[in-house]
């Protein structure tokens, strides 16, 4: 299915998430890279050595949940924009996502946007917490959003209200 639509199945997605206890402890990178392609900037970008690809640059990246601090340095570096940060430590009802967003105009802090799933379907409301676009991100802005906890495994993107 994934190879026909580009939409990862729930099963595939779950393999990239750490246990909920880890998510509740603090931010962590979810590296949604499912295919062996020649690419390794995520490994190079990580200041903590938490992402491992190894000698063969075609290997699928492995993120060590004990080493990853959720700093987010990899998010804007991934050429496939496949990485996001999730943080379940902020509240019992919500989770925070940090996702790359390369579209104009950027959302405003506090704005309510439409949360989309991996197929682009609207699934929830999301609140914009922060918008980062420093020179080091090289024009891949990263947006922090607050989303209901029940959408932890569904939320993947957002759209501004027209």
């Amino acid at each position: 299915m994934f190879e026909k639509t580009g939409v990862a199945t729930r099963e595939m997605v779950m393999t990239k998430f750490p246990p909920i206890e880890r998510i509740n402890k603090g931010p962590i990178a979810i590296v949604e890279c499912y295919q062996k392609i020649p690419c390794n900037p995520c490994q190079t970008a990580c200041p903590f050595g938490a992402i491992h690809i190894g000698e063969d640059i075609n290997n699928i990246p492995e993120r060590d949940e004990n080493v990853c601090t959720g700093c987010g340095m990899c998010v804007a570096k991934c050429p496939g924009l496949s990485i996001m940060i999730v943080d379940g430590s902020k509240s019992e009802d919500t989770v925070e996502f940090r996702i790359p967003y390369e579209f104009m105009p950027l959302p405003e802090v506090g704005e309510k946007v439409v949360g989309l799933d991996r197929a682009g379907n609207p699934v929830c409301e999301a609140k914009v917490i922060k918008v980062m676009n420093p020179p080091s991100f090289d024009r891949t802005p990263v947006v922090t959003l607050e989303v209901g906890r029940e959408f932890l495994y569904d939320f993947r993107n957002f759209r501004r209200e027209a």
Binding site: E102, M104, P105, R139
Partner: protein, 101 residues
């Protein structure tokens, strides 16, 4: 048809250039090709095919396909996708093979 806001790129358009298309005054910018300036003005039909007189437009943008050939300053078969716009140019749609002066 011009992009004013883009997440990755900024477009530093050069100075404005005046030219004519089939006698009509048009504006483009220095540094852009004739076909690009016409496209920005909404002109998509650049000529007619030789035998069936079907409309011809921009296609490859690298000077390979000949679909964008027009008459420029009286000269036929100019590949407008790779020819830069110049002040005062007269650009005309081409029908037929054109005649070399």
């Amino acid at each position: 048809m011009r992009i004013t806001q883009h997440p990755i790129l900024t477009f530093d358009r050069g100075k404005e250039i005046n030219f004519t298309f089939n006698g009509q005054p048009m504006k483009g910018y220095e540094g852009e090709t004739i076909a690009a300036a016409l496209h920005a003005a909404g002109v998509k039909v650049l000529g007619k095919s030789l035998e069936k007189h079907r409309p011809r437009g921009f296609y490859c943008a690298i000077g390979n396909c000949a679909s964008c050939q027009m008459i420029v300053d009286g000269e036929p078969n100019v590949r407008t996708c790779i020819t830069l716009l110049k002040e005062g140019m007269t650009v005309e749609t081409q029908e037929g093979k054109g005649r070399i002066k």
